[in-house]
Symmetry: C2
Subunit: 414 residues, 2 copies
């Protein structure tokens, strides 16, 4: 089936989805969770094929691990679907309703967006997560997973569709591109007639390609070149565990720390012990001249180090003369994801909160908290790093729009 045909199917499913009741949606989601558990074996077999092919193609460590499914991981995925079923349904909420001076009652009601598109990479769990969040919020979704996870994704979508059919629900609400090539991805990016929004999830290259090539509205997600600034007034004992947590707890994720900025007034006191502790945690340090002067093992940082996410046990460190210089560095290199200041100064904290332009700005805490579940929204479809529609972690509410509804009895405009 062509991308256009899939779009047509998804569009017509989205019309039915929009008027589905919460309980109908939840029952269908629970049926999908059951089916995933019942068909673990089939999923693992498909995944084994993907893994074998990936290894043949020389795919390396962390990418292989993202692709891999285990019984436990499948159970986790199914549990995620069940948790999504348990979330509040955002659809149908009337945000406000007023009476116009002429007597009309008018208000704003939350409705599904319609047809969502997702373009993502190797992680097959995104297939199920994206379906569950789209379905919960009353949308149809067109998925374009990575080539590497082709077999696993096919089986996931088959199981989901069968479970929706058996539950008497709308199997057409999930569509997956049959051919995960660049050409079909491009077609999806231009499917304005049927697609209401496209959400790319993956590395910086994928996101950039979608932004450049899409004519449908896009929500940019996930690239996180995150900074933590240790101010001259920071409580240095509090600072160390925050830096370690932000860098080490899960280095491959988008809210992990990538560049540490340190005020020059505390560099001598703070950096030697900090560098030691980072090294003990296996972190490779790239630093400016001042940082290099503390430790021979520090690799001199280049422009590349300030500009990029490592997504790894590596950290760039720079000494700065002031909070203003820290804010300026962040304004230049930040991807506007999560930024933190560690300080005991009231003025510095307020200045940083007001002037740093990012989805999440922290005082005295780890950037690792930028996350749907930590913010209380449940599962997230991604973390928006752009400013339109949704900013930061996007839960089911971010997958809705509104419409104005107007109850009149003959009103005309004067």
């Amino acid at each position: 089936m062509s991308v256009k045909d899939l779009g047509k199917l998804a569009k017509s499913a989205s019309i039915k989805m929009a008027i589905l009741g919460s309980e109908e949606k939840n029952q269908a989601l629970r049926a999908v969770a059951e089916a995933l558990l019942a068909k673990k074996k089939e999923i693992l077999e498909a995944n084994a094929k993907d893994m074998e092919k990936a290894e043949e193609n020389g795919v390396r460590g962390s990418l292989l691990d993202r692709l891999l499914l285990t019984e436990e991981r499948i159970e986790g995925i199914a549990e995620g679907v069940r948790q999504t079923a348990a979330l509040n349904d955002p659809v149908g909420e009337v945000l406000w309703m007023r009476t116009h001076p002429n007597g009309m009652t008018y208000g704003q009601k939350r409705v599904p967006i319609g047809v969502l598109g997702m373009i993502y990479e190797a992680r097959p769990n995104v297939t199920v997560d994206a379906f569950a969040l789209s379905f919960k919020s009353g949308n149809a979704v067109i998925l374009r997973g990575g080539k590497e996870a082709f077999e696993t994704n096919q089986v996931f979508v088959k199981i989901i569709k069968e479970a929706l059919s058996s539950a008497g629900s709308i199997p057409e609400a999930v569509q997956m591109l049959e051919d995960p090539s660049r050409e079909t991805a491009r077609e999806l990016m231009q499917l304005n007639e049927y697609l209401d929004v496209l959400i790319p999830r993956g590395g910086a290259g994928l996101i950039k390609s979608v932004i450049e090539n899409a004519s449908v509205p896009v929500i940019e997600t996930g690239v996180g070149n995150c900074h933590t600034y240790v101010d001259e007034s920071a409580d240095l004992e509090k600072a160390k565990p925050i830096v370690i947590n932000a860098k080490v707890q899960r280095p491959g994720v988008c809210n992990a720390l990538e560049t540490l900025l340190v005020h020059e007034a505390v560099a001598d006191e703070f950096l030697p012990a900090m560098l030691q502790e980072l090294k003990e945690n296996g972190v490779e340090i790239h630093g400016d001249e001042r940082v290099c002067s503390f430790d021979d093992s520090v690799i001199p940082a280049t422009e590349w180090d300030w500009e990029n996410e490592y997504l790894d046990l590596k950290l760039a460190i720079r000494v700065v003369p002031s909070v203003e210089a820290a804010i300026e560095h962040i304004a230049k290199y930040s991807t506007k994801h999560s930024e933190a200041i560690l300080t005991e100064s009231y003025s510095a904290s307020q200045k940083f909160l007001n002037e740093v332009d990012a989805a999440a700005v922290y005082v005295n805490a780890s950037t690792r908290f930028t996350d749907g579940s930590e913010f209380g929204f449940g599962a997230e479809i991604g973390i928006s790093t752009q400013k339109l529609h949704a900013r930061g972690p996007m839960g089911v509410e971010a997958l809705t729009t509104t419409k104005y509804i107007i109850y009149g009895n003959g009103q005309i405009r004067g």
Copy 2:
């Protein structure tokens, strides 16, 4: 100056704008209003040059009228700026603030978007309106007005910048492309480094070109192929004035009625008198076969008539067998702006409200109410017909985004 240089200036102005207090912004806006009134003569002279050139180039009636400024119109534009100053400042509102189980306080705060881009056509008043709404909401704006209004726009921007300077404010917050060519417009559409959002305002051709060519986020506005459906249960006496109002009161605007759908059960009773009244109001009718059978002056409608906005004293009329058929026609041809049902049936009204996918869905009222001032938001920068970020009339709040602010005291993620 190149488009990129203007972008750089606007970006750096936006950082200062973001932390400007409400009273500082309001004073600056009032100074701009004063300056516009004080320099009416200069504006009229520039406008006369534009008008002369347009007439030489054979520009026709309604376009010429859009370009024309009079003393009264300039007073209206200045009054608009003063009213924008009087609006509530959306910036800085904390939408919610909670305490995380770990003790961090976190919440969502409304902040300016940053740098807005506007691409628009002949109406020079958009230059001032767009500046005022952008400035009020703490944004910098890059304007790309129509070639036809070149002289008027230059003078407007000069007056605004001078007034901002004299008021000790930030004149760089408004930038206008010096060369209103296709090439510079294209550059603006790709200015991802400096531009946070691009809002096109104008005809369907302009909007389409921006959607196809922009890599910056776009908010689609304004094209309104609006329908009104007269149900079999409609109160036909109420229906007539609603149809006349929606079509005739201001036929050139986007929320004006373009296609009337009539249930076949009431066609005989409703249409003859309705057609008569439309004709008396100077409306040219394009109808399907059934409509043609009532009146020889009706022009047979073609696919074009269902697909397009007339923006003129013309109306397409079609007889449909059911509310479902009406909803289907609307789903096929609507631009998702404003749609109305006229009915006394509770079920039909609810079905239409739930199933029609548009920014504003009406029962028993004129579609002409889809408007920022009618909905109580004050002036609007446009009417969004897409589903992301803002849908329907966009006031100053639609020109803001949010950021999460987090107050910790050493929290790390477990």
